[in-house]
Amino acid sequence: MISLAGVSTDERQAGSRRLREILLDVRPHGLVDVVAGIDSLLVEFDCLQVSHEQLAQTIRLAAAGRGLDGRVEIHAGNQFVIPMVVTEEFAPDLPDVADELGISQDEVLARLEASELSINLLASAMAPMMGTVRFPGQVSRCREPRTNVDSGSVMVAGTSAIIQPFPGPTGWKVIGRTPLTICDIREDPATSYKPGDSVRFKVVPHSEWARLTGRFLRPVGTPDPANEDTQDQEGTSQSAG
């Protein structure tokens, strides 16, 4: 595991993201895959093709040669606006989160909507993990993790946000749900987002749910009639599937 020493949290996060791009680009001999942590990188390699020390040295050289010095330039990624519905059923932890942060539920959502979130990494099952939400403090995990959370759930922990692409267990707090399909293995690639892209959330009324359900998330400005938010006539809901 690699992490950058002696810099701020934001710089460490950006730095590990940049290093990840370099390694995927250079693909040092023996490298098998990389897994991004929030501010670190797990490097998987074949120990019969390259020794621990050799690979470490290659990574240092690759990083040095690419000007990885903490003050990194983040590549201009795609932008996404993700609609979410926050009814009681879809946002079971919203009251808790508001209590913990000491602000109103509306304020929690307003701060989420006001935050331009950068996708730091794709977590389990391609879930986009994003930061930083402009919350006044850290959101804790659930005391009892849920055994199953519906796909599309928008969740927060610390000052990070994540969307659950498929049903599954989680300890993160659920504060809304998007009707969009954010990951579909029938699409190629299965997601339209990648690390470095930026995301905004937009709270929409529950009445929008049926119209947007099942549409595949696409970046802002993509010429995809199924994704045109408001201009769409009512009742012409299309599915990306």
């Binding site: 895959d33 929030i38 019969l48 794709l122 099952a125 498929f166």
Partner: protein
């Protein structure tokens, strides 16, 4: 070039859980998708090598119960993994060897013991879907790959039966690396993890006590009952990537050994890693299995893995020579260097 033909395999019994499987996805983890693949990579590799396939070819992973099928035409198969009873038309046939199955014969794999999984490989290519380049299941993302009774599996094969004036089976003496599946306590080699020192006393505990696999274990990880200590003064650990074989101690008094379908990031301390050579055996561990742990150096771990891989290479070369000599089909020439695992 041999003529290939399609052979239908009619599955009549599917065991507890049978799936299409291979050695897993490559270059998927940076996208948040675990590599997955056969829990016992050694047995899956050997099964494929024994029928002349590339080791990464798609095979069938049978977990528990009885798996039975009838092939319309002759097929060349091998069965590896946990000791089990394998029969062709009721006659016992050996595991860990190529087996020539005549057309319309019924093959049964049953009574697996001292382990969890059997691997059934067919000379040729099984027709199945792929996700990110692999047939390995990713059930959570909608790619379950489950094989059920009544289903017909399609095989494309260049094998058309084995003919010899006196024998029905080719008699090979192959250097097959067959792992020991002893019924008693297993010893698993481990190396240090990043939080080994922070968990004061964990070295001694893991070296001296016995641990038992609990029924909550699955392909995500083995959960073990046994004494643990929690690391001190680490604070909250932010989510970081976690490798296969990592020994995590979550907040409860439990030890988790991560498997090939783990969640890729976690915030729990890692107090040890199973060595790469020990992973196939962990992929066979059943609930109730007792194990002890043995600390080894990193060099020792790399050396063991090298020996394991060399044994596979030697088998690959031998199979290539023998199959060429007797006219059995080969899907792959022996590879020059070990494939990335």
């Amino acid at each position: 070039m041999r003529v290939e033909q399609d052979v239908a395999l009619k599955v009549s019994e599917h065991g507890w859980l049978s799936t299409y499987q291979d050695l897993g996805r490559e270059h998927s983890e940076f996208m948040g998708v675990p590599c997955g693949g056969a829990a016992d990579q050694h047995s899956a590799s050997v099964a494929n090598i024994l029928v002349g396939n590339q080791r990464s070819a798609t095979c069938v992973e049978v977990m528990g119960g009885r798996f039975a099928f009838v092939a319309k035409s002759p097929v060349l198969i091998s069965v590896t993994g946990a000791p089990a009873d394998v029969t062709v038309n009721g006659q016992p046939v050996p595991m860990w060897e190529p087996v020539c199955v005549p057309g319309a014969a019924r093959v049964v794999i049953a009574n697996a013991r001292d382990g969890m999984r059997n691997y059934l490989a067919f000379s040729g290519t099984l027709a199945t879907g792929h996700f990110m380049g692999s047939a390995a299941p990713e059930a959570r993302m909608g790619f379950p790959q489950v094989i059920t009774a009544g289903q017909t599996i399609e095989l494309r094969t260049a094998y058309a039966g084995f003919e010899h004036p006196y024998l029905t089976q080719p008699l090979f003496r192959l250097p097959v690396p067959i792992p020991a599946f002893s019924p008693g306590v297993w010893t698993v080699d481990i190396v240090e993890g990043p939080e080994t020192d922070a968990a004061v006393g964990i070295r001694e505990l893991l070296a001296s006590r016995q641990y038992t696999v609990t029924p909550t274990s699955n392909h995500v990880g083995l959960r073990l009952d046994g004494p643990v200590v929690h690391p001190e003064s680490l604070g909250e650990i932010v989510s970081h990537g976690v490798p296969i074989g990592a020994f995590e101690i979550p907040h409860g008094d439990e030890l988790i050994i991560l498997g090939r379908y783990r969640t890729l990031t976690a915030g729990y301390p890692i107090v040890a890693f199973a060595t790469k050579a020990a992973l196939p055996r962990l992929g066979q561990a059943r609930p109730g299995q007792k194990m002890r742990f043995n600390w080894v150096s990193q060099q020792h771990a790399v050396q063991d893995y090298r020996e394991q891989q060399n044994a596979l290479l030697a088998l690959e070369e031998r199979v290539a020579k023998l199959f060429s000599a007797v006219g059995l089909p080969l899907q792959a020439a022996p590879v020059a260097e070990p494939a990335a695992a």
